[in-house]
């Protein structure tokens, strides 16, 4: 089980996240996958400079023990905050898209945007139609 360490788990998580990011159509699922990719990057950066016998980088440590490199940990802190910022902002944009196109499916939204671009005047009619469809679903 020597191969099962933070690095390999991070690569596995990255693969899962990137696959979901490409394959799934739902924008919210895409955001969750983006979060997974981000976390896998964080796990990777932390684990490449860490061995199980190392101490946490807080002095004083036990004599003779090697301590983990604090630099990647400090840099990962920026990554976490920026991850939070990206997630919050893109969630807001997804909410705006849902308000306008009543769907989280990126294929449908792209189609609706193309329809809008082809015939801008038909938008209001389509919005009425989607609103009435939503009313029916609510009932």
């Amino acid at each position: 089980m020597d191969w099962l360490n933070g690095t390999t788990i991070a690569m596995l998580l990255f693969a899962i996240g990137a696959t979901a990011l490409i394959v799934r159509k739902d924008l919210v699922v895409k955001l969750l996958a983006l979060g997974l990719v981000n976390s896998s990057g964080i796990l990777f950066l932390i684990s490449i400079r860490f061995r199980p016998e190392m101490e946490a980088p807080i002095l004083p440590t036990r004599a003779g023990m090697p301590i983990a490199d604090p630099l990647p940990q400090a840099l990962v802190l920026s990554a976490i905050v920026i991850n939070f910022a990206i997630l919050a902002l893109s969630l807001v944009f997804v909410m705006l898209l849902v308000e306008r196109y009543h769907s989280t499916d990126c294929g449908r939204i792209e189609h609706a945007v193309e329809v809008d671009r082809a015939a801008p005047e038909s938008r209001s009619a389509r919005e009425d139609e989607s609103a009435s469809r939503q009313d029916e679903e609510a009932r």
Binding site: A56, P57, I58, L59, P60, I67, P70, L71, Q73, A74, L75, L77, S78, I80, V81, I82, F84, A85, I86, A88, L89, L91, V92, F93, M95, L96, E99
Partner: protein
Amino acid sequence: MKTLVRNILAVVLSLAVFGIVVFDLAIPEEPARVDDSALLAATTGAPNLVSAVYLGARLYDTLFEVLVFTVAVIGVRFYLLRRSSEAPSASIPESHVLQASAQILYPLILILGVYLTCFGHLSPGGGFSGGVVAASGLLLCVMSIGADTVYRRLSGAGIERLEWALPMLIVAACVLPLAFARPALSNLLPVGRAGHLFGSPSILLLNVLIGLKVLIGSWMVLYAFIRHRGEI
């Protein structure tokens, strides 16, 4: 008048951030800031080496991290609060079990956030994590007494003005060492005895400022989402 003041503040803020680079290059650097961990802990006075790195040796990164966070909060508020003024969403009442347990838990979690912020240079923690923990305490507070009550009390305390003042204060804490003929981004206050709460006052100051900034910013994001989607 208000716009003028705001424009002047914006220009000063951006000039200060870029001035740090210029002055930091102009004034000769202290010898070997990061040589080994003991030296790093001695120059910053923080036994927690992660804090010593991100609030001491690499403070410039952290400065921009705070700015990125500020921009994200501004973006969320701009897009969400502008929309929600048109159609305020109805609030959904919480269950009694959740209300009662949130009421017990939120003071403890707020205190844990304050502890993590203040002892960030001695033990795991720091401004960013402490601020987020305190913000989750505020979220529990919202669950127990309602979002609008919390918002009224906090904005009554002038929390919004503080939110915009905090990035300025953080930049000021980074630039002020220049006034004492030391390089920008170095220790503002003298290093005390290592391993004590006031052993590295400048890191403590920055941690508290960043913790407040993250707490208020996360609360603003939370409140924008709550306003837009009803109670949690």
